[in-house]
Amino acid sequence: MKVELTVNGESRLTEVEPRKSLLDCLRDNFNLNGAHAGCEHGVCGACTVLVDGQPVRSCLMFAVQADGYAITTIEGLTPAPGELSVIQDAFCETHGMQCGYCTPAMVLTAHALLQRNAAPTREEIVESISGNICRCTGYGQIVEAIALAADRLSRANAPQGGAVR
C-alpha cells in the first residue's frame, strides 16, 4: 500500500507491504542506511530514529504507522555533506564509539535528550542511553561525548563573552 512519510523534513511517497517495518522501509525504500537492524525485537536500540522528536525503535513500528509523523534519521542531523553537528563532533572528540554500528542511534538518542534537557546530569545521560546497547565501548566515552556536547551547545547559545558553567 502507499504511504506518505515525512523524513528529514521531506515528504516522500512510497509503496510498502503493510507488514513492513519502518526500519526496513527507511533502508530499502529510501536508502537511508544509518538506521541499523540489531535484534529486531526492540531491545538493542540500534534502529532508533526520532518520531516527532522522540526516540523510537523503527524495528517495532510499521512503516504505515509512521504516516503523518515527522521522522528524523541520522542522515537528517548532519548540517551539510561533510559537516557534523555539535553532538556528532563531540562523539568524534571523545571517541564515543568503536565499530559504529550502534552510533547513529546513540547520536539520535543524545540529540533527543539535549533537546529536552540542555544540561543533563551524568545519571540523566546514563538513563537516556540505557535503551541503546553498545557492545564495544562500555558506554564511558559515549557518556563523555554527550556531556561534552551539552557543554558546547550551552556555550554556543550563551551571550557573547561565553557562558561559565
Binding site: 540489531g38 548532519t78 554500528y101 546514563v126 535503551g131 557492545r135 558506554y139
Partner: protein, 801 residues
Amino acid sequence: MSAIAKLRYVSTPRRVREDRRFVAGHGRYVADIKAEGTLHVALVASPHAAARIVSIDASAALAMPGVHHVLTGEELAAGTDPLMNGLDTPEVRRYPLAVGQARYAGEWVAAVVADSRALAEDAAERVRISYEVLPYVLDAERALEPDSTPVHPGHGSNVLLDRTFVWGEVDKHFAESPYELSFRVIWGRSSTVPIETFGVLASWDPWRNMLEVWASIQMPKYSDQIARAVRLPANAVRVHQDVDVGGSYGVKRGIKQTVIVAYLSRRLGRPVRLIEDRLENMRAGDAHGPDRIFDVSVAFNAEGIIRSMKMRALDNVGAYAGRSPFQLGKPVGAIVGPYQIQSVQYRAVSVTTNKAAQEAVRGFGQAPTNYAIETAIDKVAEKLGLDRIEMRRRNFIRKEQFPYLIPSGSTYDSGDYHTVVAKVLDHVQWPALEQERDRLRAKGLLAGIGIAACLEPSGGNSSFEPLLNPKNTTTTWMDSCRINVDLLGDITVTIHTTSSGQGHETLAATVVGEVLEIDPDKIRIMRPDSLTSLPSNSPVGSRMAIMLGGAAFHAAHKLKRKLLRIAGHQFGLAGDQLVYAGGGIAARDGKRKLSWMDLVLIAHRHIHMMPPDTEPGLEASHIYQVPTGGILPTPDGRVQMYPCHSFEFHVILVAIDPDLGKPEIRRYVIGHDCGTVINPHIVKGMTLGGIAHGIGAALLEEFVYDEQGQMITQSFMDYLLPSSHEVPKVEIVHHCTPSPFTVLGQKGSGESGYLGAPAAISGAINDAIRPLGISVGKLPIRISALSDAVAAARAKSSVTS
C-alpha cells in the same frame, strides 16, 4: 625496538579517523551493500537436539511465487567440501547445513532463497521435514564418558582432544609443598554477541570466473577457506575488505554462512545474501564461546608462595569442532598468569555435545583461564589468612626478571607488576576502600572487594595450531602494509583486512606519519580486496598494534631509506651524512637540501637522477613476521605462544542487597600496562568495553540449554547484555612498560579489561558473601542464584543460632 627519539603522533590523543563516517550514519556495513537482483536467504532450523533427517519436502515452499530454491544439506554437500577442522579429526565432518543428521536444536537444515527476506521466512515455514529423534548429550562430563552418545558416530567418541602437558617437576613440587588445595570453577557459555549479526553477500560472475564476496568478517585466511570449500581457485574468490564490521570481538568467522551463499549464487546465477536475524545468530550462528569446567590444584608454602599448579580444563565445544578446541591451547602461553609458578600440569580436554558450535571469543580462552588462576590465588590467601594483594605481590614475577621464561615455554617480554599495583592502591586509597566496604557491611549490605591481576598475551601468533595438531606446522602469522607516494607527493597506505571497530586506519596512519614525520591526517588509508592484498591474518589475538603497527613501521622505514638513497645520490654523500626531517633531506653540513616534493619528482619523473639499480616511483611494502615466532613446539609441548604480555590489575567494590541478591559495582579501578600506547582514545575504549563485556560474562550472559537441548536464552530479553545502567564509571590507572620485542614498545590491548573483569567480580562477590559461609564458583553469577544462596545461608544461620 627501534627508538624514535621524540614521538610526534604516537601516544597523542588524536581523533580516530573512522569515527567521522560512523557518527554521520555513513559506515558501510554488509547490509548496506545492495546488488541488483539480489536474492535473500532464510534458514530452516532443526527443532531437535539430535535427529536423523528422514525427508525434506520443499514443494509447498517452492510453489510460492518469488521463491527460487530450497537448498538442502545433501545438495550442498555434493557441491562443496567440508569446512576445515583445526584438529586432526576427519570424522567430525561439518557442512554449513546438516547432512543426514541434525546435531543441535536450531542447526540449519535447509536454506530457502526468495526475492525478499520476508518471503524467504514465509517459505521456510512451509518446508516440511520429517525427523527421527536420536539420543543426545549436553553435559561435558557426561560426554566424556565412554558410553555417552557420540555426536559424530564416525569419530567413535565425543572426545576431540585430551592431552596432558607436564612442564617442570610437578609431582616433586607437590610432594615437597606443605600445603595444597583443590577446587572447581565453571565458566558458563556466553559470547561476544555483536549488535550487528553476521551477514554476507556473494555474487558469482561467470564471465570473469569470479566470486565476489562482501561480508561482516573477522577471519584469518577467510578467502582461502571459502575457495577450498566451494572448490574454486583461491584467485577466483575476491573478498571486498572495505566493509565496516559492526562488532566482532572474535566471533565473526562466517565460513558456513559464506559457503551457503557462495554455492547458491553460482547455482542460481544471482547475487545472494544472508543477513542472520537475531535468532539465527544466537542459536545457530556457531558463535558461542568457551563452556568450561576447571579443576585446579595448587601446591604452596606457609608464606603463600605457589610452587606448582595442576589444571584440568574441560571444554564443551558443541556439535562441531572448527577452530574452537584451539581455545584450550592459547592460554598455554600465559598458563601461570603473572606469577612465578615453577611447574604446571595442564590437561586440556575438548568434547562434542549437542549444543551449538563454539567460535573464537575475545581472548581465545584466556579470560576463563585467568578466572581459574585468580580464584586459586584468592583461595590460597583465604586458607592462609593472607591479604589477597600481598599474596599476589609475593608471587608476581619481578621487573628485573624479564624477559621471563615460563614453564610452558613462552617468554614474557616485560612488565612491572609491583609498580602497577602500587599505583592502583595509591589511586584507590586502599584503606579508604576497605573502610567503605566495612561501612556498607555495617549498613546491612553484603559488600566485598574484588582483585584480579592478569595478563593479556598479544601479538596473535598461531602456535596453538602446531601445539595441538601435530599435522599442522604453521610457524608464521604475518601481517602487512604497503605505502605508495603519488606524483603529487600524497601518501596512500593499504591495509589488508577488514576491521570491526579497532581503528586500524588510525593506527596505520599514525605509525606511517610518525616514521615519515608527516601529518597522519594527510595520509589516505585504503583496503584493497583480498586478491590485491598482501598477506594478513586479520585482527585476531590482540595483534594489530603489534603486527599492523610493525608492518607499517617497517614499510615506512623502507620508504625513508629509498628517499635517503635518492638524496645521497644527488649530494654525493653517504647516508650518515644526511638528515631526514619532516619529509625533506638535508646534507649534514646544512648546505644542500631537497624537499619532499623534490624527492618525489625525482622518483616519479627523473630516472636519470636516481641511483643505479633503483626502481622508479616511491613504493614500499612490508610483510611482518610475528616477533619471537617462527619456532615449532617441542615434543613435550613447550612453545612460544604470543610475543607480548600486557598487564592489568583490577580493584573493585561490590555491594549486594541481601534480599535482592543483585550485585552493584560501586567502584571500578583498573591499572593497565600495554606498553607504548599508539592512540590513547582507542586503548581507553578497548579497556572500558572489555570490562563491560566482562561484567556481562560474570553476571548476566549465558546461553542456557534446557534438558531437551533447547536453547532457552535466544533473545535479548533472556540473554542479557550490559546496558549503561550495569556498567559503572571505570577509573583507569596507566602505566607503560615498553615491550622490547616490538617496533615502538607497544603491546596489545584488544582484549584488555575482559581478561580480568570476571575474576575480579567473582572475587568481590565471594568476599561479600564469605561472612555467610558460602561461595560461588560458577559464572555467570545470576541474581536469582545469588539471592537463593544468600537466603539459604541466612535461614541456616538463623536455625543454628
